[in-house]
Symmetry: C2
């Protein structure tokens, strides 16, 4: 492979021969000197080619000067030349005096998107949109964040699983389910790895995690929904309650945010004007009933008949946690059984309450976690109570008939975490290629 | 959470109070003493409960003795008692004298699968099948392997991407494509992340990786095929040829195998009778034409009209690499253009050959890699030549119209690597929940 130097490493390199590769951001084709600003995944640098004069003092065309004249914005090339440190150069204090240019690919001169293009137009041209350093940074942050989570889990003896996304039947509700033509029959796309990550518990895996896609046939067009999203899941055995899940959950987030701050804190400050705060342990925990009182005392009445929060309620309780408790994160606990799925365990002594939580980050829910009901008789009753048919869930119920430990876990939307960390207006910005009801391309 | 000690850590723990959690492997309910072998994800230990005599010398029933008598195999429980080191105890040299048992869940007494159950029956009861230490070890190895790969990539500044599995059209061929009902229209499940990982190159991401599901509507029932599998993918910019891809590919495999050997070498030797060999760099590279001659000289004529290998040919060349070159891995290179997809770059000066390779491990192909054709005019010609319609691939072709670096990458089947590393008879053993034409459950 051509020994290219990453542009971010030029400032620390010695003056002398160097090779960089990237795409053309701007060309200034002047009379006496030509400039190209070249960008790679790590930064941008100025390439300089002084015009060459002939014996008669007239400018002479050279391979390099002709190539530069032909360069369109977005063209990819490798430049070799002499690196020179020069404090007067605003762009990184270095420039490269060109010896040669090797053009890999000339771009069409038109630029389909501009700085002020709308989000839909930008998604149409996502590969160009991602050249913007601010947009690419999102996925570098995501990489660092995920690796910190996985490293925590691996160091704590978790097993990584890959659960199938093709299922014979619905995992939870039949609404929002995509049907797949499967040979002569049908399959369905997993809405979450719920059943299969729970399966790891009677399998004796102890502690597991998974990062993978989940699918929801949700026709809504909010800023927070997608038909396909990356779900971050963990499930652990031998818990006493959801408190044990929350404890692990907050620890991985501290690990993730610490890694992000260490590696990208400065870039995030520069490009998003966001100061990454590593949360302190423990995160605040507020039972839902108390949270509703707090929200009411702030002058907001949640307009819902059930016992749930609504988005504005989440924002209000998050504002309270930030202002009064100094935390961007808050666990809301003790959700009512009426609004939780059948597999959430109910509180001993008060079955109207579940051993479950939502995690709110900067005003929006990013995760739901719970202790699971592992007693097959109680589980069967809860299935019936929710109007579901235990017969249809017989395969799932088998997991609980042959021995199973107490267990619990959470599922967390990856793009939501990124969106809320960086203050992005919607999920699309934090998704490599967004999928929605009217968006399947590119 | 209950402070449980992992059973593997008991030998190094001091005698005294201890708590372990797991499932019942055997019960020996004897007259003077009761024994339970308890297993968790890390090992097995013997629990001992001497019978208690009353003043009259008769055995008295206690909570503990009654509980043990009721225990069925597979029941999950937490045991507390006194840890005692005793060399005479064959199982790890320790035992726990029971103070109390807390049963989380009693198992149904029947055991649906036995040691000699067939693979299909075992898959029906996969959560019980995975309790077998040998089967669970596969996924611990996989966890270690994947983490080593990802760590290599993260340390080398790769960006992790999650490409969508829902697509508007076929990624490569229309055969083997699953159709999804998508609101009022159709979507298709990605057969590979090929197009979208390539998209990261004109996006300027430089180097990317992904580990995620891929789907093939392949009706075959071989030991090496599945309708859903985990694909390990990487794609890098600014390569000179497929050689640069192979270089990275072999380096990640060395990292992965070294980590597996370090962490699981002994257990793999014990449970699979396999000595993990960390491959040495570089792996042998054999052009296909030469490989065919070698195979022929070993007495095997490949019965194919095209220029491809067949499974027996792969076994033969692997045997040659093992015997003559001392390597379990071998790159076969220079595949003919006729049997490679349109997006493989062809050799400069000899378009009958592609800049591509297959990686053979222990006799079976685990991966295909290539330099991609990034020149849009050449690419368009190759699409036509393969009988495809450039119009239908217009969105993909856009990736190459606005500037793109030279690039290449590979896709590798995760379960295949595990299967071949451990000498498993088929892919199902190395898949958490296998999916095939007639297998969608559990």
């Amino acid at each position: 492979m051509t020994e290219r130097t990453l542009i971010k490493d030029l400032a620390a390199s010695s003056d002398g021969p160097v090779s960089v590769s990237g795409w053309v951001e701007t060309v200034r084709d002047q009379k006496k000197v030509q400039f190209v600003v070249l960008r790679d995944e790590s930064g941008a640098v100025q390439l300089v080619a002084p015009r060459v004069s002939g014996d008669d003092g007239e400018i002479v065309a050279t391979d390099v000067s002709d190539t530069i004249t032909s360069l369109s914005q977005g063209s990819f090339l490798t430049a070799t030349g002499e690196l020179k440190h020069d404090e007067r150069v605003k762009l990184g204090g270095v420039e490269i005096k060109l010896d040669a240019l090797d053009v890999a690919s000339l771009a069409i001169a038109e630029t389909p998107i501009k700085d002020d293009s709308g989000i839909d137009k930008r998604m149409d041209w996502r590969f160009l949109d991602l050249r913007v350093p601010r947009n690419a940074l999102i996925f570098k942050i995501q990489t660092t964040f995920l690796h910190a989570l996985r490293s925590y889990w691996v160091e704590h003896d978790y097993i990584e699983i890959q659960t199938p996304k093709l299922m014979a039947s619905a995992s939870e509700s039949k609404a929002e389910l995509f049907r797949v033509e499967y040979f002569d029959g049908s399959a369905f796309l997993a809405q979450s790895p719920q059943f299969f990550k729970q399966m790891a518990q009677p399998a004796g895996f102890g502690k597991i995690f998974e990062v993978g896609p989940a699918f929801r046939a949700d026709p809504s067009f909010t800023s927070r929904h997608a038909t396909e999203f990356t779900s971050v899941d963990a499930e652990i055995s031998w818990i006493d309650s959801h408190e044990d899940v929350m404890k692990m959950h907050e620890e991985i987030l501290v690990a993730g945010f610490q890694a992000v701050k260490d590696k990208h804190g400065d870039a995030i400050k520069e490009l998003f004007d966001v100061e990454v705060t590593v949360p302190t342990l423990p995160f605040p925990r507020i039972p839902l009933a108390e949270a509703k009182k707090i929200v009411a005392s702030r002058g907001y009445e949640i307009p819902r008949a059930d016992d749930d929060m609504d988005p504005e309620g989440e924002r209000q309780i998050a504002a309270y946690a930030r202002e009064e408790l100094g935390s961007e994160f808050v666990f809301l606990t003790d959700y009512a059984s009426t609004i939780r799925p059948f597999y959430h365990m109910r509180r001993e002594g008060d079955p109207s309450i579940t051993n479950s939580y939502d995690l709110i980050f900067n005003g929006t829910e990013i995760s739901t976690g719970a202790q699971r009901e592992h007693r097959v008789d109680v589980l069967t009753e809860q299935i019936k109570e929710k109007g579901l048919d235990p017969e249809e869930l017989d395969g799932y119920l088998d997991f609980f008939r042959y021995g199973v430990p107490a267990h619990g876990g959470f599922g967390m939307g990856l793009s939501r975490v990124l969106m809320l960390l960086l203050g992005l207006p919607n999920l699309r910005e934090a998704t490599y290629l967004f999928r929605g009801p009217t968006r399947l391309e590119p």
